[in-house]
Symmetry: C2
Subunit: 109 residues, 2 copies
């Protein structure tokens, strides 16, 4: 299995984020997510059973944790680890260029 994270990117805003699973193994899932200006729905919070390590590789995003007062502005290369159950949402992504995320979901058992 092989590929490139920066190919087949949308050239214009799309209706929804693109999500591709690059690797799925017991306890591990690696995804590429491509956003084109999307944000999480109003009032929606992710609350995931698995841990997530995520890095933004191009574009920009505003990531908000429920336990923080303000959203974090993420730029290329910014990564963070989201503990299981920690509520978060995406307040917005770059409307002008694709935002490419790499997410590593890990079941800690």
């Amino acid at each position: 299995m092989a590929g490139n994270l920066f190919v087949d990117l949308p050239v214009a805003k799309e209706a929804a984020e693109r999500l591709e699973t690059l690797l799925a193994r017991p306890g591990l899932r690696i995804e590429r997510i491509v956003s084109t200006g999307q944000a999480s729905p109003a009032g929606f919070w992710y609350e995931q059973a698995d841990a997530e390590w995520v890095v933004l590789l191009s574009g920009e995003a505003l990531l908000r944790f429920a336990d923080e007062a303000e959203a974090r502005r993420l730029h290329a290369g910014d990564w963070l680890y989201i503990e299981p159950g920690r509520r978060h949402r995406v307040n917005g992504t770059d409307p002008a260029a694709p935002t490419v995320w790499l997410a590593v979901h890990h079941a800690e058992d």
Copy 2:
């Protein structure tokens, strides 16, 4: 835990690759590796018990699998999955600019 993959990069060739563990959990280890022209030692092959998903994020590298006739030339965004035990080596990395790798090591049990 949070950070940026593209900060604190070497400005010149160093004696050895830099390896930083970004996340270590049971069955999972995420590393940033920064190469500045290094190659694997002559005759050396990696042969790892764990599976490795790896992506090259900047720079260039020549990655050779023992079961392939020629090295693959990797550019920014190129990722591949290395099954446990599959012998491979790095024939070379960009001597002119840092090569940044992100490696996800996963124990499949």
